[in-house]
Symmetry: C2
Subunit: 238 residues, 2 copies
């Protein structure tokens, strides 16, 4: 729903002007103090490993970038280049102690959201390799619709961060086509369709790795946040 | 996303014909073998307790019914009156061992989804008292959009079960209006708007308990499943 990074492809003037190298690199770089959960572990299936290796290979020429992932939301925005929300006085640090980033809130490998994201900057496209674990069950043997919504929101959100920096989900609309079996691997593929001022429109498809099964398709609208106003003010005046 | 119960207000002929008492009672009754997570625990805030007590009071004359909730999806459909999916051969029981219902997958009280649902049968309305814990974080101090989607999907899904029995989410569209602070209590209020054949259209609002803040509004479409066809067949022929 809510994501932050000080700079994306959109600047304060809301026009494409190229990547702010420092903050973009900071976003991509690995946090020194936290475990990166977007790396292979023993719970990953062969399908997941194969797909991950394929994308890693495509990272070599710089076409794709691997995005790290942490259990603490603070680590999702590493480095001084990105805006911290403390100034907005919305989140009391004391109360925040012990919080966890929702899709990374389980300690045991393989039971929850196993995923790794890759960004294609020139295509403004973010893909997520997703292996839903047994703790994400909705109907018996299948991923809960809320877990599908969560991985879609996270993927399109990551894509929106890239073009617009600090953003917030305004709308998420999902058509569920075929249930996702627990333990399978699916590809969540999102891209920016249009940018209008502070609005970023995206679309997303969730498919089986052979491309034969469309599990879900979604559209999303994200709003670029203006750091001079409080979050609540901005949301209220949308 | 996916829910099941053999009978609701909609029968096999897809017309309203009244409640199938046996299965409806089974759905409402408490499982003998599992912990009901929709009961107060020490993590519930005073706001959550007060709201829960208010709804319990309204249950006394039968206007509202409290809905139990379990960590095993099998227990969400207690009793023999409800259809079990084993016959559909979609979920291998061996593989299912160790699965958990997504919104009830955390062991520690208070860190994840704390919620309790109440059904108003005559209004075809389901409300959910929801206290998001610190492990549901998206932006700092606020609930992740995916967790909001999850509680909305679960609430409208419960409402759709009541009228149509076994159902599956076909569409979920959410407008996020104001972020939900972690630890606050919100009311997720859903109702059936329309029924067309096997389609159940619902709407949902998520508001602060004083009603002053609209956090999110959503529409949903659920499809009633026909137990003579496999789940995959039905979804593909939608």
């Amino acid at each position: 729903m809510l994501y932050e990074c000080s700079s994306g492809l959109l600047g304060n003037g809301h026009h494409l002007h190229g990547i702010s190298t420092i903050s973009f690199q900071a976003w991509l770089s690995q946090s020194k103090r936290s475990k990166d959960y977007a790396l292979p572990n023993s719970s990953w299936s062969q399908d997941m490993m194969d797909l991950y290796s394929r994308f890693l290979e495509m990272c070599k020429d710089g076409t794709w970038k691997r995005i790290p992932s942490y259990s603490d939301t603070a680590d999702h925005v590493p480095g001084k280049a990105c805006v911290h929300l403390e100034s907005l006085k919305l989140a009391n640090e004391k109360e925040r102690k012990g919080t966890r980033f929702f899709p990374r809130n389980l300690d045991t490998e393989g039971v929850g959201f196993e995923y790794a994201m890759f960004l294609n900057p020139s295509e403004k496209r973010m893909v997520c390799l997703f292996q839903p674990g047994p703790y994400l069950e909705g109907h018996r043997g299948f991923a809960h619709g809320g877990s599908t919504a969560t991985i879609i929101d996270s993927t399109v959100g990551g894509c929106a961060i890239f073009v617009a920096g600090r953003v917030m989900t305004a709308n998420l609309s999902i058509n569920y086509r075929n249930p996702i079996p627990l333990g399978s691997v699916v590809l969540v593929d999102s891209k920016v369709d249009q940018i209008e001022g502070r609005k970023v429109f995206l679309s997303c498809h969730v498919r089986s790795i052979d491309g034969q099964t469309l599990h879900a398709e979604a559209t999303a609208l994200f709003i670029q946040l203006n750091s001079t106003k409080s979050l609540q003010q901005q949301v209220s005046s949308q």
